[in-house]
């Protein structure tokens, strides 16, 4: 059955992958079912909760709203690609220290949104953090410690930059 669909080629967390899926299959389902990357979650199917957030060609998108065909040739990064060589990303470290994750279901999407925010804006104000994360719903934390985690990650990156500069 799957062989009848044209191949879609994409790079996911640095690896080239090819899938034969219907063009209207959601990128979210391609990631979870065909590529077995279950870190990205479904919370609403409407693009409201952000738990399906991934980076597509460097931009934050809700993967539940992307048809597979539109991901042809795309570079995708998911939560599984954040930690490098077993070393936690500064955001992951900060979330752990600050309590940015409670039940954890919103966390992958939240991390991707925060990672994207810090890439585009390395020193965000609190208002910018709120805006950057407004598309990711968390029902457990009330967001407070998520904000603190992002601030801490931004500061630690700044420290790293400063250390390199010396």
């Amino acid at each position: 059955m799957s062989a009848s669909w044209p191949a879609i080629r994409l790079t996911v967390n640095g690896e080239t992958r090819t899938v034969n899926v219907p063009p209207m299959k959601r990128l979210l389902d391609v990631l979870r079912e065909d590529l077995h990357l279950t870190g990205t979650k479904e919370g609403c199917g409407e693009g409201e909760c952000g738990s399906c957030s991934v980076l597509m060609n460097g931009e934050l998108v809700n993967s539940c709203l992307v048809p597979a065909l539109q991901a042809e040739g795309a570079t995708i990064q998911t939560v599984e690609g954040l930690a490098v060589n077993g070393e936690l990303h500064p955001l992951q470290k900060a979330f752990l220290a600050r309590g940015g994750a409670q039940c954890g279901i919103c966390t992958p999407g939240m991390l991707m949104a925060a990672a994207q925010l810090l890439t585009v804006n390395p020193h965000p104000t609190l208002a910018e953090i709120r805006e950057g994360l407004a598309g990711n719903l968390c029902r457990c934390t009330g967001f407070i410690r998520i904000f603190e985690s992002v601030v801490e990650a931004a500061a630690s990156h700044e420290d790293k930059q400063a250390a390199h500069a010396r």
């Binding site: 899926v21 693009g47 998108v61 709203l65 992307v66 539109q70 805006e131 598309g135």
Partner: protein, 292 residues
């Protein structure tokens, strides 16, 4: 996920001429899909009736922002992020940059296109009142060529528009003539972010020697489609800004607005808030005028 992906066709000709040929060859058969932020929601709910879709995402001819001396042309395939990031839009059409920042989340803005927003034709569309007060022109394209219509003539009914079955939204043209105008935009939603508007009001006005010499007012969610408020404009044109004008503008709006009760809000609330917004705008004009 209630939609069965197997039951859908999605093709990607990859360029505009081929898409247009397809639409011409089988008018009404192929539904264009750009960023998917509307159609994919219906798909997940099992309510996507269109089984044959043609991909517009990634077609370079549709995604451009062209600055000319007199106007700006925005390709229908531009995302709202594109609009927010563009210097000329921020400078000359600040209300559009602001409205773009209210479309869903960052993730939604990275994918939702202005063409999709207009073609979808929701009465609550955030960018529409802005385009109306900026006197936008819509450029449509088909195998038969291109044509322009004022945006105010684009929506013809609830989720109905003036496009022929073989036409696509090509671009939006905004005249660069608002540098001197006072500008106002306010959206009222269910919360500060990720909110479909309950009511949105946009206004631009020229005030010369304390008199309104030019006025455009437009709203979302007060009618079956986003619309200019002509009665309100008539009540304001040529008037000074005082308690009496504010009162007559309010009355005109309460009369002209035809909101409904729906899942998000009530007609009475929408009407009253819209009247308060026009008053807020006029008060701002009055204050700004006082400081001239």
């Amino acid at each position: 996920m209630r939609g069965n992906a197997d039951a859908f066709e999605l093709i990607a000709p990859g360029n505009l001429p081929e898409v247009l040929s397809l639409l011409a060859a089988a008018p009404g058969e192929w539904t264009p899909i750009a960023g998917g932020t509307e159609l994919m929601v219906a798909h997940a709910a099992g309510r996507l009736d269109a089984r044959k879709l043609v991909n517009l995402w990634g077609i370079p001819e549709l995604r451009f922002i062209q600055s000319e001396a007199q106007s700006i042309a925005i390709g229908a395939g531009c995302t709202f992020r594109d609009l927010r990031a563009h210097g000329a839009i921020a400078a000359d059409f600040p209300l559009l940059a602001r409205a773009s920042s209210w479309i869903g989340s960052i993730a939604n803005q990275n994918r939702a296109t202005i063409g999709g927003n207009l073609a979808n034709g929701s009465p609550a569309a955030d960018s529409s009142p802005v385009l109306l007060v900026y006197d936008a022109e819509i450029e449509l394209v088909s195998v038969r060529g291109r044509r322009r219509i004022p945006y105010s003539e684009f929506h013809t009914g609830y989720k109905k528009n003036a496009m022929a079955p073989d036409e696509l939204l090509y671009s939006i043209h905004l005249p660069r003539q608002f540098a001197q105008h006072r500008q106002y935009l306010r959206k009222v939603g269910t919360r500060r972010a990720m909110a479909i508007s309950k009511v949105e009001l946009a206004a631009v006005a020229l005030v010369e020697l304390g008199v309104i010499s030019e006025i455009r007012v437009a709203a979302a969610s007060l009618a079956p489609f986003p619309t200019r408020l002509y009665q309100v404009e008539a009540a304001l044109l040529g008037q000074g800004i005082d308690a009496r004008t504010i009162q007559s503008a309010r009355e005109a709006l309460l009369e002209e607005a035809k909101p409904i009760d729906d899942i998000r809000s009530t007609a009475g609330y929408r009407r009253q808030v819209a009247a308060n917004l026009i008053e807020e705008f006029l008060n701002q004009l009055r204050l700004e005028g006082a400081s001239d």
